[in-house]
């Protein structure tokens, strides 16, 4: 979640438990940040010394990857997964070092703050106003066998900070005024808990399908099977914004990306349509959705082609306008899409404008 919640402490506790049950455990890299409790917990665990790296006349200390692999323990504890290495060592990032350690057949226990996850970086920056530069690809976390969230209420964390358990006394005031504000910590906590809930959901699904002779292939397909992607069919008119908002809300709940598709009939746009299209683009951009415009007269076929291309699992659309003349005899669009896209859900979003309004108390 954030610095000071006790990630390193928890990692060391886990390491000690493993050692007590007889496994060969070493500490590959430890950052105590001067915390006495953490240093005390590391006592008695074998520590691989850091190696020294010279960079522009300065001597820096980095994890000794070669020494860890040569020592070949069963489990290695490596702190601060998102760390960027000094130039001159094997890899630019510590998570790449960890890949090598894993490839050598060594299990790794590591720590990372939620804001270091690449996909959450923007969100956390928006919530907290602070952007961290060291990020790790989400796939790194996705490969972990187990994720443990180290949770602490913001109030408890602030108490730890004020008591000098997180940073030395001279840094406390700056921390309180900068990152360690209660709203930041609450936001980070929420993001961390959501992320872990999502991971658990995906793993539970993967476990449920991981049976029988197709065990391996199903397990490999599980992450793809559980990931949703939404496609909302829009037109540049005021009614589309409501549909986009609803689709975005659904995408947020599912933790899924959202695409918007306008199948544009050939021809030029009126001024009003141009304005609506610009407004739609802005809305899409603000929401983090992608607006796709395809020029075609063949609506169902074009939607189906885009849905296949985007690997859409869920299509949202508004109510179609009643057809006129011969078009009334045609198969309705939702029905046609269900035929063209087996396995894709189609949802028709209702116009709730006419429902009775409710006032807050």
């Amino acid at each position: 979640m954030a610095a000071g919640v006790g990630k390193t402490y928890r990692m060391l506790l886990e390491g000690r438990v493993e050692r007590e049950i007889g496994r060969d455990v070493v500490v590959g890299l430890l950052e105590t940040h001067g915390r006495a409790e953490t240093a005390a917990l590391a006592e008695g665990l074998e520590l691989i010394p850091r190696r020294k790296v010279s960079y522009r006349g300065t001597e820096l200390e980095e994890m000794d990857l070669a020494a860890i692999i040569a020592r070949a323990p069963e489990i290695c504890l490596i702190d601060e997964l998102a760390h960027t290495n000094a130039p001159g060592v094997e890899h630019a990032k510590r998570h790449e070092d960890v890949e090598d350690v894993l490839a050598a057949g060594i299990d790794v226990l590591t720590t990372v703050n939620v804001q270091h996850l690449e996909s959450l970086n923007d969100q956390v920056a928006e919530l907290s106003g602070i952007r961290v530069r060291e990020t790790i690809p989400d796939a790194v976390l996705g490969r972990a066998d187990e994720i443990v969230v180290v949770d602490l209420t913001p109030e408890e964390l602030l108490e730890r900070l004020r008591a000098g358990k997180v940073y030395p006394i001279e840094r406390i005031d700056a921390a309180l005024n900068h990152f360690f504000r209660i709203e930041n910590l609450s936001a980070l906590r929420e993001v961390a808990l959501r992320q872990v809930a999502q991971e658990i959901g995906q793993r539970r699904f993967a476990a449920a399908v991981n049976v029988g002779s197709r065990e391996e292939s199903l397990a490999a397909e599980a992450p793809q099977a559980v990931s949703e992607r939404l496609l909302a069919l829009v037109e540049p008119d005021p009614g589309a914004y409501r549909l986009v908002r609803r689709a975005w809300r659904s995408a947020q709940r599912l933790g899924a990306p959202l695409d918007l598709l306008w199948v544009r009939p050939p021809g030029t746009l009126s001024d009003e349509q141009e304005r609506s299209l610009t407004a739609l683009r802005q809305l899409a951009s603000l929401l983090g959705a992608r607006l796709i415009v395809e020029e075609s007269d063949l609506l169902p076929e074009t939607v189906a082609a885009v849905a296949r291309r985007q690997r859409t699992t869920y299509i949202l659309m508004g109510r179609s306008r009643p057809g006129r003349g011969l078009t009334r005899a045609r198969t309705p669009l939702p029905q046609r899409l269900l035929e063209l896209l087996p396995g894709v859900d189609v949802r028709i979003v209702a116009d709730r404008a006419q429902r009775p309004t409710e006032d807050p108390p």
Binding site: D122, Q123, A125, E126, L127, G129, I130, R131, A187, P238, Y241, R242, R245, R246, W248, R249, Q252, S270, D271, E272, R275, S276, T278, A279, Q282, L283, S285, L286, L287, G288, D351, R352, A353, Q354, R355, P356, T357, E358, D359, P360
Partner: protein
């Protein structure tokens, strides 16, 4: 010298929508019910379109084009609530969003982009809920559309919030 906005040769009324285009910008989690009702009354009377606009502020450390999911989590339910209320009253709605480094910047970008006949803002918004006094003065100085600033009143505490659409959005 600053160029006033809405100086396009085509007047907003000529450019579609029939009646006037009535902009109702908001920035926070709730909007004054009085401002919304005033905008709806005007739209009704003139056969105009209500254009609620959510203004989002992009932190300096993010690119201006960044998605803002947290801000949207506040703004989208409120847009929905406004739209449902207006539609129920038979007022056509055409919502907008705009972002900028400040709320004024976001409003300025929106006003540059398309014409409006009227802008309705409430002077009751607190310092944390959006447009400040200077912004309102700026609006009067720089926008050629008619600006309607609602003076503070005792019933300003009555607000419409996204809670109005809880479970329906």
């Amino acid at each position: 010298m600053r160029t006033p906005f809405n100086t396009t040769k085509t007047s907003p009324r000529d450019s579609g929508g029939g009646g006037g285009r009535i902009l109702l910008p908001f920035t926070s989690q709730a909007i004054s019910r009085r401002a919304l009702e005033a905008a709806m009354r005007l739209a009704h009377a003139e056969g105009g379109t209500l254009m609620p606009a959510f203004l989002a502020r992009v932190p300096r450390n993010l690119p201006l084009e960044s998605p803002l999911p947290a801000a949207c989590a506040v703004g989208m339910p409120l847009l929905e609530a406004i739209e449902q209320r207006a539609s129920a009253e038979g007022v056509p709605v055409d919502a907008r969003v705009s972002r900028g480094r400040t709320y004024r910047d976001a409003l300025q970008r929106l006003l540059r982009q398309e014409p409006f006949d009227r802008v309705i803002v409430s002077a009751t918004d607190g310092p944390h809920s959006g447009l400040r006094q200077e912004d309102l003065a700026w609006l009067l100085d720089n926008v050629t559309a008619e600006v309607l600033i609602l003076r503070p009143a005792s019933d300003d505490a009555r607000r419409i919030s996204g809670h109005a659409v809880d479970g329906h959005f």
